[in-house]
Point group: none
Amino acid sequence: MIKASIISIGNEILSGQTVDTNASYLSTKLFLIGVPVVSSYTIGDDIDSIVRVLSLASGDADVVLTTGGLGPTDDDLTRQGLAKFLNTELRLQSELLQRIEDFFTRRNVQMPERNKVQAYIPSGAKALANKLGSAPGIWAERKGKVLVALPGVPSEMKQIFEESVLPELKRLTKASGQVGTVIRKLKCFGAGESAIAELLGSLCQRGRNPLINCTVEHGVITLHIVATAEENDSAQKMAEKDEGLLCNILGKLVYGTDEQTLAEVVGQKLAQQKKTIAVAESCTGGALAKLITDVPGSSKYFTHGWVTYSNDAKTVELGVGADLIARYGAVSGQVAEAMAQGCRNRAETDYAIGITGIAGPTGGSQQKPVGLVYISVDSDGGCETQQFIFSHGRASIRLRAAQTALNMLRLRLWID
Amino acid sequence: MIKASIISIGNEILSGQTVDTNASYLSTKLFLIGVPVVSSYTIGDDIDSIVRVLSLASGDADVVLTTGGLGPTDDDLTRQGLAKFLNTELRLQSELLQRIEDFFTRRNVQMPERNKVQAYIPSGAKALANKLGSAPGIWAERKGKVLVALPGVPSEMKQIFEESVLPELKRLTKASGQVGTVIRKLKCFGAGESAIAELLGSLCQRGRNPLINCTVEHGVITLHIVATAEENDSAQKMAEKDEGLLCNILGKLVYGTDEQTLAEVVGQKLAQQKKTIAVAESCTGGALAKLITDVPGSSKYFTHGWVTYSNDAKTVELGVGADLIARYGAVSGQVAEAMAQGCRNRAETDYAIGITGIAGPTGGSQQKPVGLVYISVDSDGGCETQQFIFSHGRASIRLRAAQTALNMLRLRLWID
């Protein structure tokens, strides 16, 4: 099996000034053609580090991809590092120089003298055309290993990778009889990572094929079903079979697939059923309305949102009784319910959501701690109110509350 | 000089499913206390890889930080890897188990059995309290090297790092007499990266000390002033001098420092002046209210938000004339103005903002393209309306519109 290793080169990545998205892009692309990335390194702009890590990476893998360090300035040292590792010299390729000059000419600029260094590549290596910038990529081979150097600018890196590298790698994997990795994703909401792992039991075992990986982000659990087989079709079937299995076990916890958000799934259902929704928010401060309207076309079903941050706003805009607030407090199930009902009343929609809670960091008490949130969903089917205690700070509490409201609405939509 | 190396552990990072932001966060934090990160590794959930890379990283550096692999599931193997590398056993710490059980109890949940593994840490190592989740961090030492394991969930990783790791590392660097890099950040809004670079001219040259780096995110330009000197005081003075220089050149484009957001700066000013604000949004769909209420304590000045997505909502809730909408269209300067004025009227606040526009991807026309947004700010000082054309898709258009509204309010607050 052909394996890959990725090296990100640049002081700006090492010092944290730039988040490296190139490695993740390359990993995904390689994974999809059945080439697992077995290691990934980040190093600074330094020839010795480059040589050392090229050596480590070629120990790990058959294909080594580097990004960064191909620019025209003094701190761009990937060319030199690669040549040193290959035990060869940099040579000026006049054809390549012409291409770089043309790149500047097309933009009505004379090539700065320093860009000439970009036409030097290790002797015996091949230049890969860069259609978006002046830095060509480099393809080299050594002792049966493939070494590919790509520029660090994401758009240029992607263009060269997709046009010149990917087809070659596909050819290699095909020649080695390696095919067939299929990934399917199931999106879940409403239970924690460990609870889901417990439900799935041995399905999550390491080394199983399909492999089932679990990632969490803001309460959304994504299950990645990674099936590998010699034939793409078989991998596809294995993944589909597992998807069915997981859906059966997890039931209503599964809300969608791939990159779907809760707001998209809820929005589709509302649009299908030709229903409308309005929301009344306190502690989430607009986050719920924002999630709903993140979805293109949401104006079909979303009509009104209120952010009633003050008690006065709750009373005047939504008709929440001042006596109710005085008796139970603004953060109470009673007020959440009155907000949802008042909201539906006022907006004349089929569904309405009311949220009130304490996002923190201050404002909590023994009885009502930071993170306490009440959410009500109101429809002709009745008004349902639930109490939650969220954690992880203000931003997370707000987002989790908004997501949980969407999830309550989702479950309600499947019943109503 | 104390150097650091970072190891990111997780199949989801290696396969590209998750972009690793932890490494960049840690790099920045370490850089600020004068600890350069000299290498960074990403590996999968595999004990042998963990041991191998722990060995490489401790060869590179004095402090090795790992993130990820401390969860409760079978693919969380950092504890085992660390113990193997340290040549020791995992031991149950009953005190730690109690803390993890308490974490669940506080959330009214019984601890799932599998979370018990999180109470096992290598013999001789120290647990680092996790206040936001169930995975404790681990601090171990071996042959003069420090090894720190942190969870992969960014909020938990940051909490543990800032509370338990950073102070210890500061102590170490102080003891080793290591000083001298000071970074100051200036946050700007209202001009593009190249316009700012042109204003700054030779100040942005590479190799200059202080070095001035520029990063861009959602229209916010951050200028990083990185001053290096043998004494911390001198670096501090150099950075401050440059900060003054940049502020003079950029004037009102600079809105704050460090991690300040536009919403924080505007909020501080409103709180100081004891003024209130309400907002009425159409295309931004709650994104502006959310930005304002992201700020803790925003209930002091923020009272009401309306998301009037339908025309009807604009008329009934804000009193925007149906004839006005019919004559000029819902996306017009006239309607933005009427929204702002209606909003201020209704909420009885000192300031109000109205936003209407076309976020796309559909709904645009020749006359009114996708990205067209009108923003009005209303106060006793009058009502100011501006037209913008934003780009880069729905999410970016919405966020840029909300940020631009805050910037208009900021400039107004400094005049009023």
